[in-house]
Amino acid sequence: MLVIKDLHANVDGVEVLKGINLNIKKGEVHAIMGPNGSGKSTLSKVVSGHPDYEVTQGSVVYKDEDILSFDPSDRALKGIFMGFQYPVEIPGVNNEEFLKMALNAKRLYQGKDEISPEDFNKLLEEKLDLIKAGGKFKNRYLNVGLSGGEKKKNEILQLAILEPDLAILDETDSGLDIDALKVVANGIKEVISKDQSLILITHYQRLLDYIQPDYVHVLSDGKIIKSGDKTLAMKLEEQGYDWLVN
């Protein structure tokens, strides 16, 4: 699904990724952990095509195609979804309309007709139920007036509607209280199918209590310094990163 080889990337002329190698197969769940400033968010932005990040070396191959020259919207249409750590507020753009536009953009790319208003309403209701979200997510402006937890829930709603093949969730658990974390984590579990691949970027083991990863990677100073199974996350929770970094 996704093969990252020797990936180096700069932001503002400073090298942040210093040779990332990662191989993610269909249906796998990978957790990426690491101390602040290690390059976790940068990795997610480079894969999804943020223009501020300059790739200086290496490749990102998704479904056998090097995607580094592709625009973010092309990457999304090909099936990559990034869940934002800080979802952007866009006043004046209705959330429901936005979801429909995004879905129709994908359908158009896939050669399908636009979804009918009736079918979209049905789909939206179904996904809202799935993530236990109320009607307030329909009629609001995009992320405007939502709490931190609700914004994350709205990201999961978009994930549910767009059904990407690869989802990268950047610190979806940050800023959530225990109850909100449970709701969001269960939402992710509900919407991700066994055919979809998932990269969870997180600081904490607690998200992984709900979504069990197949692999855990530790990122430090722009490189993956350790990979393992879910027990690695537990060890990190107990001992921190010092034993790996120093």
Binding site: H50, P72, S73, L77, P91, G92, A105, Q158
Partner: protein
């Protein structure tokens, strides 16, 4: 580099134009207006003269015109009651400065018109607004007193039932200069919503529109204006509103197109507890210019005023907002706010603002803010990361920027129309 133009030269050109008009007293209207356009475009629409236009001394010109306003001309004050099924109910159509059609006005709205006005027009408005001294100082009155082809007064009486929205279509359909003048007299406890469309069907027209309004005790006037021009025309709007005791004025505008647009607006809050809300959205492209001068005067205690300007600038367009808020001595508990946001889609576009707070009383709250910027890259990335093509993402963000002003419009139809006009 901005080329500064000789102000006296421009004044002379306008005076020549006026001389030609006064000599023929509308016997040959077409040739005069074409001549006027020629002078206007030659002397003033030079695209490098943005700053000159912005600060063109209309008052100096207009004061000079006073001397020419003394000729005799026939003045008619006529009741207008004609109906025309071709236009919407409760509507007025004004073509090239003259009242053209009027249809099924609500019983609580009376329209009176004077034509071929000269200095008597001053008396006409003085009669209704009883601001003799101020009117005499107002250069606009002399401009129209000299050159106006039509002045319309709309008198609104209170009604127990809601008065339907009054629709006014202000159209320029031939090259030349037109000078419509519309006065609203909102009587005590009366309320009126007005939708005004300003369009042109041809190139080379200069529309000088004057809106005057007096809103009496507990009266309410909501004006929504859309100006959309696909031609290289000029518009100068000079507006003056007097807001009395516990009265409300809401003025919402959207402006797209035209070569040169200037909006001079003076609002006087003369009595206690009045409220004024001004919201303006503009989209400028090419070499077009748009300049706002707004003067908000708080003359009495406990009045609120709010101004919001949002400007979308493309290509080499040039937009300015000069906003003065004057809080007079004794105007305690004033609340006033002014926000101007400029969004650039081109590195060659220019925007400038001059907020000016003159506060002569303690115990007031006034604030102002200005922003200049481009589309937020993070927002653009967010939308694109959901698969939206760049064009659609930019379109959405543009509408997002505009949305706060659009939502202030009273008319749902106009909100939809503006969203369509914003499609890039």
């Amino acid at each position: 580099m901005v080329e500064m133009v000789n102000e006296n030269e421009l004044v002379d050109l306008f005076l020549n134009e006026h001389k030609a008009l006064s000599d023929s007293i509308l016997n040959d209207y077409k040739s005069i207006t074409e001549f006027a356009w020629e002078q206007f475009s030659k002397s003033s629409l030079d695209l490098n003269r943005a700053e000159s236009w912005r600060y063109f001394p209309f008052s100096k010109l207009l004061n000079s015109l006073k001397d020419y306003a003394n000729y005799e001309a026939p003045t008619k004050i006529v009741e207008v009651g004609e109906e025309d099924s071709e236009v919407a109910n409760n509507s007025i159509k004004i073509v090239s400065g003259c009242l053209d059609k009027i249809n099924q006005l609500n019983d609580n709205i009376e329209v009176t018109q004077t034509r071929y006005a000269d200095k008597n027009l001053v008396n006409f408005f003085d009669h209704f607004f009883k601001h003799e001294q101020e009117s005499a100082k107002n250069p606009l009155v002399f401009l129209n007193g000299s050159l106006s082809t039509s002045a319309i007064l709309i008198n609104v009486k209170p009604s127990e039932e809601k008065i339907p929205t009054l629709k006014i279509n202000l159209l320029s359909n031939e090259p030349g200069v037109s000078w419509p003048m519309i006065g609203f007299n909102i009587l005590e406890k009366a309320s009126l919503n007005v939708e005004i469309h300003v369009n042109s069907e041809d190139d080379k027209s200069l529309l000088i529109g004057n809106f005057f309004a007096k809103i009496k005790t507990q009266g309410e006037l909501n004006i929504d204006i859309i100006q959309c021009d696909n031609h290289s025309n000029g518009i100068i709007f000079q507006n003056r509103f007097v807001v009395e005791n516990a009265a409300h004025l809401k003025l919402n505008g959207f402006c797209r197109g035209g070569q040169f647009n200037r909006f001079d607006t003076e609002i006087l809050m003369t009595n206690e507890n009045s409220n004024v809300d001004v919201n303006f959205l503009s989209l400028t492209k090419g070499n077009s210019q748009q300049h706002h001068f707004i003067n908000m005067s708080h003359d009495a205690p406990n009045c609120n005023s709010s101004q919001l300007f949002r400007n979308l600038l493309f290509d080499k367009s040039n937009v300015s907002v000069d906003g003065t808020v004057l809080v007079q001595k004794g105007a305690s508990q004033t609340f006033s706010e002014q926000l101007i946001n400029n969004l650039f889609f081109s590195e060659e576009a220019k925007a400038s603002t001059k907020p000016n707070l003159q506060i002569l009383n303690d115990d007031v709250k006034c604030n102002h803010g200005v922003t200049f910027g481009q589309l937020e890259e993070e927002s653009l990335f967010y939308l694109k990361s959901r698969g939206l093509p760049e064009e659609l993402a930019i379109d959405l963000l543009t509408k997002s920027f505009a949305s706060e002003v659009i939502e202030k419009f009273h008319s749902e139809e106009m909100k939809t129309e503006i969203k369509k006009l914003l499609e890039l």
